[in-house]
Symmetry: C2
Subunit: 344 residues, 2 copies
DNA sequence: GTGAAAGCGCTAACAG
DNA sequence: CTGTTAGCGCTTTCAC
């Protein structure tokens, strides 16, 4: 009996022998519908399995009760963040749409501006932007950024203490006796990456040691890019005895490359990452890394977004959470000095 | 200059001094627009930062190039599955919308039918349903189910070999000398849960041992529910020496409850889970569990969905992937018989 | 109480 | 080449 395509409000109206306006009223519990009519309409709705199209609805209404989270890709960091976001949304009455550019993003700077523009005003009441590639304060809907872009930014943001985290990581390596410590940098457009680099530099400065710029490469938080640049770094004549990678994904890629070059981690190369994604504890060896509370960041971002949507003016619109060094098996004392300076 | 709300195609048209139809043509690269006009329009588009509303577009067109994944909630299993889905979608030209009912789902059986109806036909070209609560083959758009509902189901599905997995898990416990093995069952509406229970029973049958129905409780794949029922089980007079939990989330909750009751895992209670979510390897002790290839399941589901959307008729519309027992630290040999039969 | 009509932003005929 | 028009599914005045 049912047509293969979805039933529309018109199908319901026709079948119930009323106008679409009446059906709409029933749907939205508006006053001014006779009890009998209402009952009849509900019956038909159930019969047809009718549900209002979210798209059509949100084209008319401006409030949808749907939150958006925009991620460039679904990798461990964003997946972890989503769990926290889910925790926060549960029982708030909001629903959630996660929009992923799925890699399109990489070549297309500003993907989230595009996506956000396409979705906001219609479909979503506000959005959380994860590692956005642009700074822009003016949007049609409330927006919260997680791990924001560099540059002045009036968007409410959630991030972690990247500077101290990175500093601690490098201090840990220095304390183990390492001096030739490489840096695999992150996406240079993100504050987090720049702060992690600053932390690296500060640790050296505090120790009174000069950094060797030739040991700094750019991994862009990307495993593939990291593979390439780390390959170069580790086969160069003066390869480092330790590497601080700006996120776990690049750290894991680094460990992998080291292995394929016949270098043992941590005996020949110590590696520290950043993030503490679940995968890092599971790798062989388990990764020493800087933990940031990813789930909590997702949770906080959603809390803040909801407050904004409700028109509250939250006191704190820029939250920075603590980081913490987690020492596992990928770091150990530096090899004796003669091996460091000698040719490999 | 810009209004605070988003620019529409009309704003662009007005500003460029053309009709909306012309703008639309430029937007969609249709023929029949003078080069000069086209250039002028593009200029205005850039100037205004205009992007077509996905909602309005998909209300008109029926093809959107957007895939949907519907999850009841964002927990470790679905998060892991999303990573696999992301892998599959990357470079396909499709974008992805993940729709999460965020816990609303729990009280509302059929949430995915509702959501799917609200989204399909408009907004998405097809969807992957994760642990759906209903069987229904007729939808407006192609649909693939992961870990499907019980009952006959003509939907294309992706799942894992739940029966063997569970059987292996229980055989492992039996081999360790356990006889009083509890079962924390899963959602009784899902095939996976029922098959895991069957595997449990089969292992006992093959060993020629009768199962004790009093040792079987329902955790519904939910940590809270599990806490309650396992609490009862572990404080009963004849508590089991081992528990097979139908998924890792319940297994981890079981370990937790045991701990709070003063029972050591694995010395006083062995625990086996199912799924091998990242969290299971990270827990203390690391969880012995049955691995199912969650990421691959996500990947396969998307591959299949895309094939369906493209109108191909894929040969295999019901894929069952292998499972594998991963032995870690939460299981050990059963305590000597006298402790088993004696009162605790 | 109920329905006709306008319009949300966009696209696809079809005239001009 | 360009603009006018109709309509996607829905909600909301505003007459009847």
């Amino acid at each position: 009996v049912q047509p293969s395509s979805r039933a529309t409000i018109r199908d319901v109206a026709a079948r119930a022998g009323v106008s679409v306006a009446t059906v709409s009223k029933v749907l939205n519990d508006r006053y001014g519908v006779a009890a009998a009519t209402s009952a009849r309409v509900r019956e038909v709705i159930a019969e047809l399995g009718y549900e209002a199209s979210l798209v059509a609805q949100s084209l008319r209404n401006h409030r949808t009760n749907v939150l958006g989270i925009l991620v460039a890709d679904l990798e461990p960091f964003s997946a972890e963040l989503l769990k926290g976001a889910g925790d926060a949304i549960r029982h708030t009455g909001f629903e959630l749409v996660i929009y992923s550019a799925c890699g399109h993003a990489i070549d297309h700077v500003g993907w989230e501006r595009r996506s956000l523009t396409r979705l906001s005003g219609t479909l979503i009441d506000g959005a959380v932007l994860v590692t956005p590639t642009v700074i822009e304060a003016r949007y049609a809907a409330p927006v919260v950024a997680v791990d924001p872009h560099t540059g002045p930014c009036d968007l409410p943001t959630i991030d972690a203490d990247n500077l101290s985290g990175a500093k601690n990581a490098v201090e840990h390596l220095l304390a183990l006796g390492h001096r030739r410590i490489g840096l695999v940098g992150g996406r240079r457009d993100l504050q987090s990456a720049m702060l992690r680099e600053s932390g690296y530099r500060q640790a050296f400065a505090d120790a009174g040691i000069r950094v060797d710029e030739r040991l700094m490469v750019d991994g862009e938080y990307d495993p593939e890019v990291t593979r390439t640049v780390v390959g170069g770094l580790l086969t160069s004549r003066r390869r480092p005895t330790a590497i601080f990678a700006a996120n776990d994904v690049s750290a894991l890629a680094t460990v992998d490359v080291a292995g394929s070059l016949g270098l043992r981690v941590p005996e020949d190369l110590s590696v520290v990452g950043f993030d503490n994604i679940p995968e890092s504890a599971l790798s062989t060896p388990p990764l020493t890394t800087v933990e940031q509370p990813i789930r909590e960041m997702g949770h906080r971002a959603v809390d803040l977004l909801i407050a904004l949507i409700r028109g509250e003016r939250p006191g704190l619109t820029h939250v920075t959470l603590d980081t913490r060094l987690v020492i596992r098996g990928s770091t150990t004392a530096a090899p004796p000095p003669r091996r460091q300076t000698g040719r490999q």
